[in-house]
Amino acid sequence: MLRRIAYWMLLVVTSLLAGCASQGPVSLQEVREFADASARLGGYAELSRRYRDTFEREQPYLAPAAERLARENDARRRAVHDDFVAIQKTLVLYMQTLSLLAGDARYDLSERIDDLGNGLKANADSGLQQRHIAAYTGMSRLLTRVIASGYQNRSVETMVRDGDPDVQVLLEAMISLTRLYYKTNENEKKTVLGIFDVEIPFSNRNSDRMLVTLAKVHYLNKSTEYKLIDRRYELALQGLTKVALGHQKMRENMNRLTSEDVRRMLRTYGRDVRIIRENLSGD
């Protein structure tokens, strides 16, 4: 009876092996970590909001003629905000799904197979011999790993390969937009700070002292705020560039994802993106 079972199982394993391209020990951990870090990068959404709300911040500093123009600009920025955010949402969803697909939580069955083997041991007096149990456990582990990892690997490969051109286009758009956010912010900063450059030297009567003091404090606060914001544009751009490069490398090396150098490279990209994200949320 047991011999027949073993024979059957051998048949099943052979047919499964024939159906799958033979792979080495498969680990998609690096893909998962990179996709996960990319999905959580942050920065872009916040800076998009900041760009949309430019007028709110600069309005108090604007003379009437400039304010009229600023209002027009405000309407134009608000009109496209949803589209700007939609790009990022698409990418985040893609990365989250890629992370799930490359995830091992659902597919790593070895622990359950081990449990199964232990269960059999407990009932060893039912007639099963130790070597049968060992053979059974070993075969079933092999079976599940071959099925799960082969399928999973090919699914991840398909997703990365087919997705890369679009991922690159969208990331490029996000990088271009972030640069434009930065340039717009530069003009906002100089608008807000510029008035003090000019008005503080004009206010040199004794009765102006309190006004000048308040103005200087305000100037200091504002220039600190803009310095911190400048850093965020820089970080966001670095992060988006890393994600684009990491995904491109992943696609280029898709068929050798299990080789140690590719895994190390992908690990580095994942770690870099995580560090950038930590810096973004740390400020």
């Binding site: 009876m1 027949r4 079972i5 059957w8 099943v12 159906g19 430019t54 604007l62 003379a63 003629a65 400039a66 123009l69 027009e72 600009n73 134009r76 920025r77 496209v80 589209d83 700007f84 790009i87 698409t90 969803l93 893609y94 799904t97 890629l98 799930l100 697909l101 659902r106 359950r112 199964l116 059999l120 009932n123 007639g127 099963l128 099925i147 399928y151 090919r154 699914s155 490969e157 997703m159 087919d162 997705g163 679009d166 991922v167 969208l170 758009a173 271009s176 937009l177 434009l180 340039k183 717009t184 530069e186 003009n187 906002e188 100089k190 608008t191 510029g194 450059d197 000019v198 040199n204």
Partner: protein, 222 residues
């Protein structure tokens, strides 16, 4: 906004008088700015100030400036961004000019009319910045044009992957492959040939299902 008499009264900023009283020059001056990049700072500043002399004029948007000889450069997003960068840079130069003028007043006292002239220049600077930001907004709108297709494709791909994730759950499911193996072991231990055959059928079924779900072309299922 600009006051010609006072501007003339201030000897340190003679450049502003060139275009300021003549509102009709405003649109042309802005169109010229893209060509003015190579000019010396002082001349460039003079051109850059001009648009604000006629604030009531409609803003020269890229669509109107495209009538100028620079149409080729403006037809691309990069051209729009470059023009905006130049406007921003003119605004910077104008600001430096204002600040230099303030520093030059060794007395530290500014007569009312001097202050008005410098404020008017600051207003001009802010207008230039708004015009630059308006061009940046144009460029940003240009960036997202045509992104519908890649976005749609990526959403489709993501949806497919999500389906695979749901289906692949079969492997680990209690009624799935591992479940089949468990029944097989149970039946073998209990010495039930019928149970063994049933369990083996189940395993084969899941194997077939996995072949069908295979991401490689459907030939794998055949």
């Amino acid at each position: 906004m600009s006051k010609p008499e006072q501007t003339q009264a201030n000897p340190t900023i003679p450049a502003t008088t060139a275009n300021a009283p003549d509102g009709t020059q405003a649109g042309k001056a802005l169109a010229d700015t893209s060509a003015a990049a190579q000019l010396a700072p002082a001349t460039a500043t003079a051109d850059a100030v001009a648009p604000s002399a006629a604030p009531e004029q409609p803003a020269p948007t890229p669509s109107t400036t495209q009538d100028s000889p620079h149409e080729g450069a403006l037809s691309s997003m990069q051209g729009v961004i470059e023009l905006a960068d130049q406007l921003s840079s003119f605004a910077d130069q104008l600001h430096e000019r204002i600040m230099a003028d303030i520093r030059d007043h060794s007395t530290g006292r500014f007569p009312e009319h001097t202050q008005d002239v410098l404020r008017a220049l600051l207003d001009d600077e802010m207008l230039l910045r708004q015009r630059a930001n308006s061009l940046y907004a144009d460029a940003a709108a240009f960036v997202i044009r045509g992104l519908g297709r890649p976005q749609g494709q990526l959403v489709g791909l993501t949806r497919d992957a999500a389906k695979k994730i749901r289906r692949i759950g079969l492997i680990g499911d209690a009624t799935g492959l591992v479940g089949g193996l468990l029944s097989l072991a149970g039946a073998a231990m209990a010495g039930q040939p019928a149970g063994v055959v049933l369990a083996l059928d189940k395993i084969r079924l899941h194997n077939d299902a996995l072949q069908v779900l295979s991401p490689t072309p459907p030939t794998a299922a055949a």
